[in-house]
């Protein structure tokens, strides 16, 4: 295994792992805030019991997210010193802001998790607000760095040296807004449907009580609001990519021939040697219509991009289809759930409805992983689009493959333990909690 491949594999594994916990770190605090707030308002014990249960899950997930995030800040230097030397002073600002947001999140999470007996109920509830806000902001700031990698701004290169650094311009890079909206929504969607799915499964097993209905409702509300918005955000992202990163768009769509009336390719197996897609469904002029609202929009194909600058469409295209497919399914579920709730004035609780919600449980995270694959693999061979190649940023230090193996082993072990702990938490039937009357341990 070459060091470049090992470094990419390690960064990829670390991010693929961290992104799950990061998304939950954005979504769960919002649920905690809602549930604690509802308890303060209604005094219904179900809300308190749910908040206590979710707080325990959040404690585990946040800790794993925090340590895996720290590893990433190490890995920026350990694996990509060339990137950091080039970009550190340009994109340091969003990293610092992200650091602060994370700091605030950690502080108030400590207060929330351990402060129930030391703070008044109102202050205790109020601590969930900075957690939710800073959780969201830390994601938005860190995505600014990724946005900058896609649309580098705020500096000039003179004789191979970086000059005229403007960190503010780098922070407000053109890709940031649409990427931040897309990723923030994805975190709420994934968390909302995951939580809804957990309680839908509980209801399928016959526990159709208030506790389960309220949890299902809170999860669904978040998912159902965020999912349809994601359609707009996703469209804006695709248009942006088509204008700024034609190679990425071509790889996403397995689009080989530059043409007007470009077809939209769904599914299929890209054959990069022949420049065709086997077994795909093609909608005539679909791609031109989507990115330009006009069948005559010309879309650049991979054949017009230098071979060494082509991203791997064999990865990017299926990842894109998985993301869009999962997203579309969740949007349908959210519309259906909203319709049912509007018509019946209650949460969807028919067997088939619960089964559908249960199916969406993992989909949000699958979509996140796939979407992240699209944007990262689709940017290759660049780490800083148009300026620095990934291969020029990699470390010269030894042992990359060994640490890749070690970290992968640690992440797999942690994933197994986290799943085990969460399952125990979900099934726990310990003696009821004093305040709420439900088992929350």
């Amino acid at each position: 295994m070459s060091d470049l491949l090992a470094a990419r594999a390690q960064m990829g594994t670390s991010l693929a792992f961290h992104i799950i916990f990061a998304a939950l770190g954005i979504g769960l605090p919002l649920l905690l805030c809602i549930s604690e707030g509802m308890y303060l308002r209604t005094k219904k014990p179900e809300y308190l019991a749910l908040a206590k249960k979710w707080a325990k899950a959040t404690a585990i997930l946040f800790a794993v997210g925090a340590v895996s995030g720290t590893v990433l800040s190490f890995e920026l230097g350990l694996l990509w010193p060339g990137f950091m030397q080039y970009a550190g002073s340009i994109v340091g600002m969003p990293f610092s802001l992200e650091g602060y947001a994370f700091f605030i999140e950690a502080i108030f999470l400590g207060l929330y998790l351990y402060g129930r007996s030391r703070l008044s109920p109102l202050v205790h509830w109020l601590t969930t607000i900075p957690i939710a806000v800073s959780g969201m902001l830390s994601g938005i700031f860190v995505v600014a760095v990724n946005g900058w990698m896609n649309s580098p701004t705020g500096f000039k290169v003179v004789d191979g040296k970086v000059t005229d650094i403007d960190p503010i311009a780098a922070l407000f890079n053109p890709s940031w807004f649409q990427q931040a909206v897309h990723s923030t929504l994805s975190a709420y969607i994934a968390t909302g449907f995951a939580v809804a799915a957990v309680y839908a499964i509980g209801m399928l097993r016959g526990r159709k009580d208030d506790y389960h209905c309220k949890a299902l409702a809170m999860g669904l509300i978040i998912g159902c609001i965020a999912a349809p918005l994601q359609l707009l955000s996703g469209h804006a992202s695709a248009v942006w990519v088509s204008e700024n990163q034609p190679a990425k768009l071509a790889a996403m769509e397995s689009h080989f021939e530059t043409q007007t009336c470009a077809p939209l390719t769904i599914g299929g197996i890209p054959n990069t040697e022949k420049g065709t897609v086997d077994y795909a469904i093609q909608i005539p002029c679909g791609l031109s219509l989507l990115v330009g609202f006009n069948p005559n929009t010309k879309v650049t194909g991979l054949n017009d991009i230098a071979p060494e600058l082509r991203p791997k469409t064999s990865i990017v295209h299926p990842a894109f289809d998985i993301m869009v497919g999962s997203g579309m399914f969740m949007i349908l579920v959210s519309l259906g759930a909203a319709f049912t709730a509007w018509r019946t004035r209650r949460v969807p609780d028919k067997k088939w409805q619960l089964w559908t919600v249960a199916l969406t449980g993992p989909l949000g995270f699958i979509a996140i992983e796939a979407g992240w694959t699209v944007t990262e693999v689709g940017r290759q061979p660049w780490v800083v689009y148009g300026f620095v190649k990934t291969s020029d940023a990699v470390t010269t230090a030894p042992g990359v493959a060994i640490f890749f193996a070690l970290f992968t082993f640690m992440y797999i072990s942690m994933a197994v333990i986290v799943v085990w702990l969460l399952r125990r938490l979900a099934k726990s039937t310990s003696k009821p909690d004093k305040e709420s009357g439900y088992a929350v341990a």
Binding site: T70, F74, G88, L97, I168
Partner: protein, 341 residues
């Protein structure tokens, strides 16, 4: 108008951040060490007191390291790149320690009812708490040694020998001892009765261990880090060296005499002297002898906005942090160590 040297201002902030990290998170690592070494009839109570002290604050304390890392790569990108490359192995191991320590601490707390699993998580938590301070201390020693050589942004020295040497290994051990000392002193203020006596003994023992390691390390500095040696023994850092010795003795004596609040203040001041003394001795180098503060600094156009962002961030951070420490460390929590849960 006399121009303020922004690079030095940020370098100063990095030292402040590092000091805060050692004072706060160092004690969390030290707590892990005492968990690992827990013994005697009150073994379980010792572990419980440590977990209770760490629980609400360790994640926030840990963020100071991220603060330092981000300032490093924002303000001094070539220095960060060179350190990360030359010290890739010990820094990777430090990251391994961070993951294992944090994850196992939380896993143990949430698997308390499964005795076997909790025991394994506990051992992992304790053992991992030794790794990170040792590796980070080792890296600090290596940075001052003069053995990491950088030419045209490329590491030209070995990836192993600069840190696999007596001086860095001693600074690593010193870091572990210092963290343990900090933790023991803090824990005397968060416990009562016999448990307090346990930690008082541990404070004195780890205080002596810290002093012994520091004394052994001193002669190794002559060969191992000549640039530091000059400034430490008779240069700009000498006053802080003397301060460290005096404050260390005061902290130890005050723990022994059960004046725990004074001991805590002295220990915190001692850490400030150690980190500050090291920074002063090593200045103007970030990596002796090839990378300096001004040489590695990003241009002012990058540093200025960064400093403004830092200042704005601190306006939100400091009151929040104050509130956290007030709620969990302000009132004497010793009274409720038994009883709750």
């Amino acid at each position: 108008m006399p121009s303020l040297n922004l690079a030095w201002v940020i370098a100063g902030l990095i030292v402040v951040g590092l000091t805060t990290y050692v004072i706060l998170a160092g004690a969390d690592f030290g707590g892990g060490v005492w968990d690992f070494l827990a013994r005697g009839p009150r073994k379980a109570e010792q572990r419980q007191a440590i977990a209770k002290a760490m629980g609400p604050v360790w994640e926030a304390n840990h963020v100071w390291l991220i603060f330092v890392l981000v300032l490093m790569f924002t303000a001094f990108p070539p220095a960060f790149a060179a350190m990360s490359t030359a010290l890739a192995i010990p820094l990777s191991l430090a990251a391994v320690g961070i993951v294992l320590r944090g994850a196992n601490f939380v896993f143990r707390a949430h698997a308390a009812s499964v005795a076997g699993a909790a025991r394994i998580f506990g051992v992992m938590f304790g053992a991992a708490s030794l790794i990170t301070p040792f590796m980070l201390g080792l890296c600090v020693g290596a940075l001052g040694s003069g053995n990491i050589r950088v030419e045209n942004s490329k590491i030209v020295s070995s990836y192993y020998t600069p840190w696999l040497a007596p001086f860095p290994i001693l600074t690593g051990l010193l870091a572990v001892a210092l963290c343990s000392f900090l933790a023991a002193v803090y824990l005397t203020l968060e416990t009562s009765g016999e448990l307090q006596e346990d930690f008082r003994r541990r404070a004195v023992i780890s205080g002596i261990a810290t002093a012994v390691i520091a004394t052994i390390a001193l002669p190794f500095t002559i060969e191992g880090a000549p640039v530091l040696w000059q400034q430490l023994i008779w240069g700009r850092a000498t006053a802080l060296v003397i301060g460290t010795v005096v404050l260390g003795l005061v902290a130890m004596m005050m723990s022994y005499l059960r004046h725990y609040s004074i001991a805590r203040i002295a220990t915190i001041a001692e850490v400030a002297c150690i980190v500050g003394g090291w920074a002063l001795a090593q200045a103007p180098y970030m990596i002796v002898p090839d990378i300096t503060v001004t040489g590695a600094a990003a241009p002012d156009s990058a540093l200025g906005p960064q400093l403004i962002a830092l200042a704005i961030g601190l306006v939100f951070l400091l009151p929040s942090l104050g509130f956290l420490l007030y709620v969990f460390k302000g009132q004497n929590p010793a009274a409720e160590i038994s009883g709750e849960e």
